[in-house]
Amino acid sequence: MARVGVFVCFCGANIADFVDVNQVVEEVKRIKEVKFATNYKYMCSDPGQQQIRDAIIQYRLTSVVVAACSPRMHEKTFRKALFDAGMNPYLLEIANIREHSSWVHQKDKKAATEKAIDLVRMAVAKSIANEQLHEISVPVTKRALVIGGGIAGIQAALDIADARIPVVLVEKSPSIGGKMAQLDETFPTLDCSQCILTPKMVDVASHPYIELIPYAEVLELEGFVGNYKAKIKKKASYVNFKTCTGCGACWQKCPVKVPNEYNMGIDKRKAIYTPFPQAVPNKPVIDAEHCNMLTKGKCGICAKVCEKGSIDYKMQDEIIEREIGAVVVATGYSLWDPKPYEEYGVGRFKDIITSLEFERMVSANGPTGGVPIRPSDGQVPKNVVFIKCIGSRDEAKGIEYCSKICCMYTTKHTILLHHKVPGSHSYVFYMDIRAAGKGYEEFVKKAQVDTAATYLRGRVSKIYKKGDKLIVRGEDAQIGQVVEVVADLVVLATAVIPNKDNPDLARLLGVSYDKYGYMSEAHPKLRPVETAKAGIFLAGCTQAPKDIPDTVAQASACAAKVCGLFSGDTMKKDPMISSVNNEFCSGCQNCVKVCPYGAIVTEEIPMSRGSKEMRTVAKINEGVCQGCGSCVAVCRSMAISLAGFSDPQIINEIVSI
């Protein structure tokens, strides 16, 4: 026999002013199962909770109804109160008489009170059908997969590995380092990117808890939080990394020249190459698309010069499997192709370059030895025009959002130009200068003073060629006039966009993504690191454009999340999930089709006890089920039940109004 206790909260005046709380208590006392009912000024306060705890013991309550604010507010608080009194916390029901009654019917106390009584009756009826539930524990494989070896992936991998949790780091290209490895100096401190990044890269390679798998891709991820299984494709590198010493004899002798991606195509690399001198691992790979031996079957020079015999032209892609418990996605970003800006002559004028090309040029290890040049004639430019918001904040041609980093790196570029080319002058066309960040505004201010760059607020309408110069025509909105600037070089600050294959990867992982292709976090404010799929976390520009400090912070947050997940041998999970009653299940498997998480599988069970004949029934994977109830509603024989929202609970609510 159910023994329900009802606790009605005044919420100060929030409820009591508009709902007659005494009448509510009197009315619910008439319900057969209600053995105790009271009200109090603040039920959530400690004395309020104490009343609940005392009544549970004194009246031997079998369930508790708190009539107060929304369950989204204080469900946890009151569950804990039940737990402290030795009662199963899931025997609590909350009647939301504040948000659903007192606050929305403030002009009619009688109606608000009647409604509050009904809401409490419903909660009482539901609570009678409540069952004791226990947190579910799922075993955990304590190994993390980090996808992407840029600064985000490196940071996450190191932080997780430092907690002595094994990490598998998968990088698509032959070396880790990512976009940050291509940068020269970083804002706002102007410390050299390589100097701060390469030690971390080396740490990754030598860390006992990190398994680095370069030149590889994730093909498949199955399973659920704590129990994923990943299939990883190791692309054929045609070089045996185990024996290769990285001496470099092979790429020095290779006769094939290919545009160098690392340097944005400004110079050439060979068909067998290491992407850059500080690459980790510092082992060459053969670019199968361009290698003469692999395309035409002729050449073989690298194999001849390799003393260790590490070259293996017959190498095949290899698929390996790893069992893992959590995934950090840190696949980075791409840059927007400015081709739609035809009026600027993008593509026609060689002396219009992108910021990253400029970055490579001014980089000490860059193709031009750290001095910017005009691609058209190799001259060092004196007057350089920087144009911001290329693609960003442009609904017509590009994307709607702000790419966040361009203001800062353009400022940095004016400084670098000022340092590297004496007598040069920068012009910056901008829409706004967005310098929110520690030391950012100061950095911008100082740069403007030091470089004496000309800042022009306005859009560029046209770029045309006059002799060997480019004429940049734009509007200076501050003086309200059209201006023309004679430029030796134009640098476009192109927008940050998600990688093209982000949606594919998101689908493969079972994570949602937004309209641009960025993967979606579980909550934009309160769960910015998690995805809606448990055990998969996001770091860096996979989620949205970010600068290096933000990326590193998010990566470390991911690591903290992963470590938290792995803190025990099992993880705890909310028990409000579906379960199948085998006796009722007829095995139609329609539930399998509607489950958004693939949490339902089938199993064969004996027809009856001891029978050899088998029949198929549905089985719910506790680890994967998120408790949406889709399967419950489509189960015709009512074999599936959703704990916390079972059919008897809801029907009880319906009929008790």
Binding site: S70, P71, R72, N96, R98, E99, H100, S101, W103, V104, H105, Q106, K107, D108, A111, A112, E114, K115, D118, L119, M122, S512, A532, M576, V594, P596, Y597, Q626, G627, C628, G629, S630, V632, A633, V634, L642, F645, D647, I650, I651, E653, I654, V655, S656, I657
Partner: protein, 161 residues
């Protein structure tokens, strides 16, 4: 029929049934936890007023709503039912509301075919940010059902007054 002349409310399905004076309909609102329930909470926190006829039931997702619930509601306590979930594409459970949408349409049409007025069961998408919309939806549903008069079809014993 005399009562009708005095502008009293009659049940639209059974015109012979006249609503008692000061009759107020009971409407059951089944709301998904993540969008519509949160939206209704926002209506509360914003102190937006709406008619008090609705009684709210929380479910995790609109896809949890079995047509059963609607039938049972109409047969017992309710004069009308409102089911509300996340906007298409916004489902917390990815695809739940797409499946729910199909069932809702068929249930609504079937009920109207066997003689329930279409407006007895209504559906809405209300996001967690749409507090004002929730109030508007409730006001509309209440007004609609008030017009339809009391429901007296296939009621269970205790509810056929």
């Amino acid at each position: 029929m005399e009562a009708v002349a005095n502008n009293q409310l009659v049940s639209i399905e059974k015109p012979e049934i006249v609503a008692p004076p000061n009759w107020e309909p009971v409407i059951i609102g089944i709301l998904c936890n993540w969008c519509s329930y949160a939206g209704s909470d926002l209506t509360g926190t914003s102190r937006i007023q709406y008619p008090p006829n609705i009684r709210i039931i929380r479910v995790p997702c609109s896809s949890r709503v079995d047509p059963w619930f609607l039938i049972k509601s109409l047969q017992t306590t309710a004069d009308g039912v409102l089911v509300s979930g996340c906007h298409p594409g916004d489902c917390h459970y990815i695809t739940g509301n797409y499946f729910a949408r199909r069932r809702f349409l068929v249930t609504k049409k079937l009920l109207s075919f066997v003689g329930f007025h279409e407006d007895r069961v209504q559906f809405s998408w209300v996001s967690a940010a749409e507090g004002p919309k929730f109030a508007k939806v409730v006001a509309k549903v209440t007004e609609d059902i008030k017009k339809l008069g009391p429901l007296h079809l296939y009621k269970k014993e205790n509810f056929d007054k």
